[in-house]
């Protein structure tokens, strides 16, 4: 038995190729005869693979930021000088003290030594007569017997001590100082090192010719080849998998030139059968810059469009506000948000503007306004604002709410499930007795926690909320299915039937691929059940997916980062968030080429529609809740501008330029806004049209003529463009934003304006991308705009 133990121990080392050649031979020989040991070796292989298969945890964005900061301060060198100086002080102080002491003690020593010698000489009496032929060596005074302890002075001690080590200490100090002073040398050392390491890495995959028909990785590393000598298919497969895993973790570079197609296909076949996604690796380039696992969909900003070529601009409304709350979370953590986390339309729509109340027969009012573009005085800005009708308590339909709550392990932190529970409790307090709540949770499995319960039974609902606990993994697909089924079962006619999904977005276990999930939700939409998505948490936040879900499910999407935001979404805006007064609201704007040369829609990148979609009632679009305001901004290049906006396209040879209608009445108009919407229950759309006339007098051209709405909305848009580092930001600046936000008399009861201003200030101190006052030089425009200093619009 103990014998076997020793074999096992040997096998473990054999497996790692750490045995001497003789030992290896013995093991090889033993292996041929011993099936038990063969089995053990195989177990070792599978164990090692399984351990290796553990994923490398990605760095959290927070840590990434911290390391980047370290790196940045290092490269800037400003702090380096400071630390240099501090280090110098630290080392210099003891040196000075030591020198001082040394000089002092040398003086004392020489003085005392003199005195002692004089004294010794006077006391010396020869007590022994010298034998013939022997010599007596002179004994130094301090080693003589009568110069012990009592007589030795402290100064002597100091003297010997420092005399002996003196030069060494000094040398050391000097060397250290030099090292600290010339950090460059140290960095150089590190650099050499890094280069050496890289060289070693790139050389690693050396081609090794393997005999036999077995397909081997030509580029497999030497150490891998040697790892196990005892060859069978299992071993080869082990090496394949090991290689794939190593590639996946970025430990080796695939040297593809050594890798012929035949062995590659054999290896691929095997790895695929083992469930390795071949499309990802082993041939994928190694990803070095993995930022974090929060996922944001790429946003390609809208460009300027020529009116003669694209007279129509069509988009769906968006009442989501999640992006603003998410940006706020980043800024409050002293980080700049990632570019694609900033959706400008959601930032603008976070704020409520004071628009005209809608007339009795329409669910909302349309507000149009026009002013100078503050970040580029050569352009103009047009605001399109919708104000949804407020419903009185009696009018509000009865709610049938199904909460679908992610209780996976990832929800188990203070800013996720506990925050949700608190917010939900606040909401339940507000519900009317006949309204219904049910709770569905999903983690490993989906389950019904609370069947549909009328809100007069608040205690029961509260208790169920209290009992929610996080743990397990996530499978979003089944949960959604169940939630919709329950919503349908308890469907309230003419009511507000809604599934509220609360998650941190980690959906990816189990059935649900993104597209399958979206497809399912699109199907459920036809039952008149709406979807609201509440996003929570940090670190692994799947922004893109959640927004997509809400878009498809006739829903809206919020990000909840604090109990205040929870209260805003679930309690204060309960009416507007949860009750749709119009659905599939689409806006189409026709610009008049007599007044407008080119235009750009700010934000709404993922809400754009094709121009045919506007009149197509089967096309889905955003919905408007009671009391909601929706705001869109257009940046406009006026007709007659000498700016080239259309890019470099040659004039058409076979077609005439489309003729432009012109008459006295038409010329006065700037654009026509058309709006289509459906009543919440209806399937046919209604059309509203409104015309914006050109401003007649010049006072309108001045910025201070603009309303508070336009001023504040433009400030928010400008902020978004700066955060996105947009190429259209022109001479936007944080100071101008703050000025304008303070100037506008925009007010709101929750004081979001003050919060906005403080966020801008935070961003200004964090943003290192651009200097604050930048002369306007847009690469897309080939003429210089005369700048009037910062915020030139409000001079004069």
């Amino acid at each position: 038995m103990t014998d076997h133990q020793i074999w096992k121990q040997l096998l473990s080392a054999y497996f790692d190729d750490e045995l001497s050649p003789e030992e290896k031979d013995t093991v090889n020989n033993h292996l041929i005869d011993c099936p038990a040991c063969q089995k053990y070796l195989k177990e070792l292989q599978s164990l090692s693979l399984n351990v290796k298969a553990l994923k490398n945890e990605p760095l959290s964005p927070d840590l990434e930021q911290r390391l980047n900061n370290l790196n940045r301060t290092r490269t800037e060198g400003s702090t380096m000088q400071k630390t240099n100086f501090m280090n110098f002080l630290k080392t210099a102080t003891p040196v000075v003290v030591v020198l001082f002491l040394a000089i002092f003690s040398i003086q004392m020593y020489s003085k005392r030594a003199m005195q002692a010698r004089v004294r010794d000489a006077s006391q010396y009496t020869p007590t022994q007569t010298l034998a013939l032929g022997t010599t007596k060596q002179y004994q130094p005074y301090y080693e003589s017997s009568n110069y012990s302890g009592r007589l030795r002075s402290a100064a002597d001690d100091i003297g010997t001590q420092y005399n002996a080590g003196h030069t060494n200490i000094k040398k050391e100090m000097r060397a250290k100082e030099a090292a600290v002073d010339s950090m460059g040398v140290y960095a150089f050392q590190l650099k050499q090192l890094a280069e050496k390491e890289t060289r070693a890495h790139s050389n690693m995959p050396s081609s090794v010719v393997v005999n036999g028909s077995a397909a081997m990785f030509a580029s497999r590393t030497k150490s891998d080849e040697n790892k196990v000598n005892w060859k069978d298919t299992a071993t080869i497969n082990y090496q394949r998998e090991n290689y794939a895993l190593k590639l996946q973790r970025g430990m080796i570079n695939p040297a593809e030139k050594d890798y012929d197609s035949k062995t590659r296909s054999a290896d691929e076949g095997y790895l695929q059968s083992q469930g390795y996604g071949i499309d990802k690796y082993p041939y994928a380039p190694i990803q070095i810059h993995e930022s974090n696992t929060e996922q944001y969909d790429l946003i390609n900003e809208n460009e300027f469009l020529q009116v003669t070529e694209n007279p129509l601009s069509t988009f769906s409304i968006d009442v989501d506000t999640a992006s603003y709350a998410n940006v706020r979370r980043f800024l409050n953590n002293t980080q700049m948000p990632p570019r694609d986390a900033v959706r400008i339309e959601e930032m603008i729509n976070y704020f409520k503007y004071n628009y005209a109340t809608p007339s009795w027969n329409q669910p909302f009012s349309i507000n149009l306004e026009h002013g100078i573009c503050p970040w580029n005085p050569a352009h103009q800005l047009v605001l399109v604002g919708l104000q949804g009708k407020e419903l009185s308590a009696r009018q509000t339909p009865i709610s049938n709410l199904v909460f679908l709550i992610d209780v996976s392990g990832s929800m188990n932190s203070a800013d996720k499930l506990p925050l949700l529970k608190e917010s939900m409790k606040l909401m339940v307090q507000q519900l009317r007795p006949e309204e219904r709540v049910s709770l569905v949770v999903y983690a490993g499995n989906a389950g019904l926690v609370l069947d549909s319960t009328p809100a007069h039974n608040k205690g029961l609902i509260m208790a169920a909320i209290d009992n929610l606990q996080a743990g397990g993994s996530t499978a979003g697909g089944q949960g959604i299915e169940l939630a919709y089924a329950i919503a349908k079962k308890n469907f309230i006619h003419n009511g507000n039937n809604r599934v509220i999904l609360a998650t941190d977005g980690d959906f990816n276990v189990g059935v649900s691929s993104d597209s399958a999930l979206v497809q399912m939700i699109e199907e459920k939409r036809k039952d008149n059940i709406f979807l609201t998505v509440l996003g929570f948490g940090t670190g692994n936040y799947q922004d893109g997916k959640m927004e997509k879900l809400a878009n498809k499910g006739n829903g809206n999407y919020f990000y909840i980062d604090s109990i205040n935001e929870g209260k805003k979404v679930l309690v204060d805006e309960l009416g507007s968030t949860l009750i749709a007064i119009a659905k599939d609201v689409k806006i189409q704007i026709e610009f008049n080429p007599n007044a407008v040369k080119a235009y750009r829609l700010i934000g709404y990148e993922n809400r754009k529609l094709a121009k045919e979609d506007f009149n197509d009632d089967t096309k889905d679009a955003g919905e408007l809740g009671a009391g909601h305001t929706v705001t869109a901004l257009y940046e406009i290049v006026p007709a007659g501008s000498w700016e080239s906006t259309g890019g470099n396209v040659d004039p058409l040879k076979y077609q005439k330029q489309t003729s432009i209608k012109s008459s006295f009445t038409i010329n006065k108009e700037m654009m026509t806004v058309k709006l289509r919407y459906k009543e919440p229950k209806s399937n046919t759309s209604k059309l509203i049209t409104k015309i914006l006339t050109q401003p007649t007098n010049t006072t309108n051209q001045r910025w201070f003529g603009a309303s508070d709405n336009l001023q504040f909305a433009s400030a928010v848009a400008e902020f978004g463009m700066l955060l996105r580092d947009s190429k259209f930001k022109a001479n936007s600046s944080y100071t101008a934003i703050i000025q304008r936000a303070q100037m506008s008399a925009y007010t709101d009861p929750q004081n979001h304006k003050a919060e906005f201003i403080s966020l801008v200030q935070k961003a200004a101190s964090l943003d290192q991308r651009q200097p604050q006052s930048q002369v306007f030089q847009d690469p897309h425009q080939n003429y210089p705009v005369p700048t009037q200093g910062e915020g030139g619009y409000n001079q004069k």
Partner: protein, 176 residues
């Protein structure tokens, strides 16, 4: 300074993950990782080219982890019980319920192995991590752990035995 940047990009993930597996606590691991890089950047420890740079860096990381554990043991709260133990308890699935998709099984397995790894005694855990994740030779491991070669051999062997035993007893025998 591209060379330093290279060090950052190359080693930030391994260092962080080493600390994470060592401490089994994300926040602490993050602190350790940034401490280590700060120390390296500011030249707190001087690298002398006696060993490979990675070996040296892991030694620094390991020491940082150990001192972190020591410090955390000095203070403990009398009022708040540490909830970590409960948090980490993953619910292992019942095998007789619905057949879960392959991906799910794989995930459960990896969670399980991760936990088994975290339960290993410190020395064995370190050795296994350095061997399997960083692919170091026994010699390098011996340098990092500051022990003899034969000791490393035994640590790794025992670590593997323990892992094997834990996996066997859990019924997750059929791995992959």
């Amino acid at each position: 300074m591209p060379a330093l940047e290279g060090i950052f990009t190359r080693y930030k993930k391994p260092v962080f993950n080493f600390a994470l597996r060592f401490l089994a606590n994300r926040a602490e691991a993050e602190d350790v990782a940034s401490d280590v890089f700060f120390a390296v950047m500011s030249g707190k420890y001087h690298y002398t080219p006696k060993a490979k740079f990675s070996t040296w860096l892991f030694t620094v990381t390991r020491n940082a982890c150990i001192s972190r554990i020591r410090n955390s043991k000095k203070f403990f709260s009398l009022w708040f019980k540490s909830e970590e133990g409960d948090d980490q308890q993953m619910q292992l699935p019942d095998h007789n319920t619905l057949p879960a998709p392959d991906e799910l099984i794989k995930k459960e397995q990896s969670v399980f192995i991760e936990r088994a790894l975290a339960h290993l005694p410190l020395g064995q855990r370190e050795a296994i991590i350095l061997k399997e994740f960083q692919d170091m030779s026994y010699e390098e491991i011996a340098k990092v752990l500051n022990c003899s070669l034969s000791n490393v051999k035994i640590l790794i062997f025992r670590g593997r035995e323990n892992l094997r035993r834990e996996i066997k007893t859990s019924g997750l025998e059929e791995l992959r």
